[in-house]
Amino acid sequence: MAASLQSAVFLSNRIDPHRRLFASPARSLPGTKGSILVVRSDGRISGRLSGRNLITNAVATKADTPTSSTDSKPGHELLLFEALREGLEEEMDRDPRVCVMGEDVGHYGGSYKVTKGLAPKYGDLRVLDTPIAENSFTGMGIGAAMTGLRPVIEGMNMGFLLLAYNQISNNCGMLHYTSGGQFKIPVVIRGPGGVGRQLGAEHSQRLESYFQSIPGLQMVACSTPYNAKGLMKAAIRSDNPVVLFEHVLLYNLKERIPDEEYVLCLEEAEMVRPGEHVTILTYSRMRYHVMQAAKTLVNKGYDPEVIDIRSLKPFDLYTIGNSVKKTHRVLIVEECMRTGGIGSSLRAAIIDNFWDYLDAPIMCLSSQDVPTPYAGTLEEWTVVQPAQIVAAVEQLCQ
């Protein structure tokens, strides 16, 4: 019973571009009662509303409490891009210094509709349409942040931010250090990346690996509407520059999220599915491939523990470490390239810290080191497929 509920919830979140997911009519911002809920990744709640029933996990876990499944569904349902918008809107209401700059974010409403409706509400000075000049408008956002504004810089596609790499690396990441702490750069740089549906090589880039060694930068990747909104809010509130990685294919995910205002922790990983046999570390879109493989694995008798690492820099070695200590086997599934990707750094970090707890070499499944081809079948095999994940787990657990 619980399992079918779990799979039902899972299926509704599965990516299926052909299925039209109709969003519930756009709700106005839920009236916050002035309470902030801090929800930890393991579901613990701190704040004044600890007693309330709340769906704290994005994907139903095995240990589903009976109460949450029979709730009269508190919260509201929305798509991931709407969740991002809600988070952005709440932060813009809360702090007048938050502004958005990017291409087509204003009058057009955003190329993925994340900023739709914000320009009429906040005006042209807070939701800024820029010309196609990533290098300079990223630089301008950073310059504005030096004086205390909190810009949210959107790259229409993460790949375009390569043009702004100099500004992100040298000015954004390093100014706090080279000025001896005088300036802080509270920017959020966000945009969709990742392999989409036959978008071509240049529009399917994963920039996590390029940004990860910039000192001074924090990186997070969202995967569900729940953590998208929470991470967006946290990123805007953070005084450090944060790069928020979204994924082109995840924008239409639908989920029910709480009405109350909540902010997630930028550095924590999320426990998607507790388990015993193997730890699978993943983020962004690969989470769904992993969950799909998990179904197969469960049927085959394995019990994978799935962790969505969310924070790509710095890694949440606390959660990961506890998991490794429990299961002793690690599989990393990522969409980044094999060479120099997040997986390789994570592997190094786990080996450095948890070597004694490992029973098997860490396996890392990542995208192939090729430019993403246009042809559908080829593109499918550039990224990791659930079948490969199943095979890898089986190999690990021998």
């Binding site: 010309p131 000049a133 290098n135 001896g180 300036f183 930028l266 949440d316 994570l346």
Partner: protein, 517 residues
């Protein structure tokens, strides 16, 4: 009763004392019978502590100078001749040996400043913060307001301004004796500092990159004269003198160059990363041209926050060919940002002459739809006029480009001799004909504001000041090893050094999360 000195009978001395002095936050002690001892002190929290009282300064009553030089003057330095505060000048305490940064004895504590309104002595505050908080403090907003009656000197710039899509301002610039003397002192200080940095580099106390600004001092001083500390300046790596002009001290500058803890960026930035947040100096950037979008972002923030201030983004003739500059200019023009792009055209982009790097070396015209002005950058008064004009324009109409025609005597940096791509005759020719300090010296002589020996005294003092600062900077220690990890992130990241591992940052970090505001 004994006859008071002649200047105390001049009403305008007293009536021109600004209301700011009577404000409650200033504590005022006055000996009513002796106005010479009137001392106004206040607390400036953010300052280096310097406490100069009249007694310590050893000041004695001297004749103020309201006109041609009088023989009554007993002081030996030009400032004794009567310097007055100009609205745009940052006030500071001056001893009878003159000098901007006090250089004098009895440097003690925090932020008390002596104001000697009736004495014809220029008193300058060391507090930029204070000045920034309350710009009316020493006078009304009128930039021509004079503290006391000092004559205006009108000088015509030697080269007229050339405008692109704009009517250039007039060639006649107004100035005052104290301003000219302060120009002389400031520029000598900068020149001396750069030359001292040269010798420090050669004795390997400064390493890495060291880009010297001598020859270009007029740009820094001229800009500073026309703006307030709330206006922002951002520049590239040739930033030592602009840092000084914005209120940085010599000790901080030299310490940063030598990588010591007392440096403005705590020794972690180096020559190319001088910053001074409280006086609107945003650096200090190593990548050519990258500071221009940052500067336009500063202007955007100023417009967003409705501050009524402008940003000057300085770049060189080499950076003028960067694409991001034109992108930023386009956005600034679209959004009407108060951004002024100042091209310090010293005619050489490292080793490449401008005619070899730019098809169109008329950098003031390169903005196309954005108006531009070409200014003789070796003439401090021309720069002052242009900056004032540009600020008025930018606040109303949006961005503008200023091209400063200037020259650097040193090579691009210390590793460049500077003579492989230009002749020594050229360098010495410019030094003879266009040197900014010499020009001010000639002006001072022609208006009889000081004698040659007085100016020499100033130069000697400046030299001593620089030497003292170097000595003090040398004593500052190197940063602590734990400083390697501080300030990477804000709020506590990466600061802990665990006992087991020397690297505590990144994956090994102990602190898992921070509390958000």
């Amino acid at each position: 009763m004994s006859r008071l000195p002649w200047y105390m009978y001049r009403k305008e001395w007293y009536t021109s004392v600004p209301d700011g002095l009577q404000r409650p936050r200033l504590t005022q002690k006055s000996n009513s019978d002796d106005l010479l001892q009137r001392e106004v002190s206040f607390n400036c929290p953010d300052l280096l502590r310097r406490n100069l009282t009249v007694a310590e300064l050893g000041l004695s009553p001297v004749a103020g100078r309201a006109g041609p030089r009088r023989s009554q003057g007993t002081g030996s330095s030009p400032s004794d001749r009567g310097g007055f505060l100009h609205e745009s000048q940052t006030p500071r305490a001056v001893g009878d040996t003159g000098g901007r940064r006090g250089g004098v004895r009895a440097l003690k504590f925090v932020g008390e400043v002596v104001l000697e309104p009736c004495r014809g002595i220029a008193v300058e505050f060391l507090s930029l913060t204070d000045r920034g908080d309350d710009p009316e403090m020493f006078g009304p907003e009128d930039p021509n307001w004079k503290f006391g009656s000092e004559p205006t000197i009108t000088v015509e710039t030697s080269v007229p301004f050339t405008g692109h899509k704009i009517d250039p301002p007039s060639r006649s610039v107004e100035t005052t004796p104290s301003e000219l003397l302060s120009f002389f002192r400031e520029m000598s200080l900068m020149r001396r500092m750069e030359i001292a940095a040269d010798s420090l580099y050669k004795s390997k106390l400064i390493r890495g990159f060291c880009h010297l600004y001598d020859g270009q001092e007029a740009v820094a001083i001229g800009l500073e004269t026309s703006i307030t500390k709330k206006d922002a300046i951002i520049t590239a790596y040739r930033d030592h003198c602009i840092y000084l002009a914005r209120g940085g001290t010599l000790v901080e500058a030299f310490s940063e160059l030598m990588g010591r803890r007392a440096g403005c960026s705590k020794g972690k930035g180096g020559s190319m990363h001088f910053y001074k947040k409280d006086s609107g100096f945003f650096g200090g950037h190593g990548i050519v041209g990258a500071q221009v979008p940052l500067g336009c972002g500063l202007a955007f923030a100023q417009k967003y926050l409705k501050e009524g201030t402008v940003t000057f983004s300085l770049y060189g003739d080499g950076a003028a060919n960067q694409g991001q500059l034109f992108e930023a200019l386009n956005i600034s023009a679209l959004w009407d940002l108060p951004a002024i792009l100042v091209c310090e055209n010293n005619h050489y982009g490292m080793g490449t002459a401008e005619w070899r790097a730019a098809k169109s070396p008329a950098y003031y015209k390169r903005g196309d739809y954005v108006p531009g002005l070409k200014v003789d950058g070796m003439d401090v008064l021309a720069v002052k006029q242009a900056a004032k004009f540009a600020k008025e324009y930018a606040l109303k109409n949006g961005p503008m480009i200023l091209e400063m025609d200037t020259y650097r005597y040193h090579g691009h940096s210390m590793s460049d001799p500077g003579s492989t791509y230009r002749t020594r005759d050229e360098i010495s020719g410019v030094r003879q004909e266009r040197d900014p300090i010499e020009r001010v010296r000639k002006l001072i002589f022609s208006h009889e504001l000081a004698t040659a020996s007085e100016l020499k005294d100033i130069e000697k003092e400046v030299r001593k000041e620089v030497d003292d600062a170097i000595a003090e900077a040398k004593e500052s220690p190197m940063p602590d090893p734990s400083e390697l990890f501080t300030n990477v992130f804000v709020k506590g990241f990466g600061v802990e050094v665990s006992r087991n591992t020397c690297m505590s940052f990144g994956a090994d970090r102990k602190e898992v999360k921070a509390i958000l505001p």
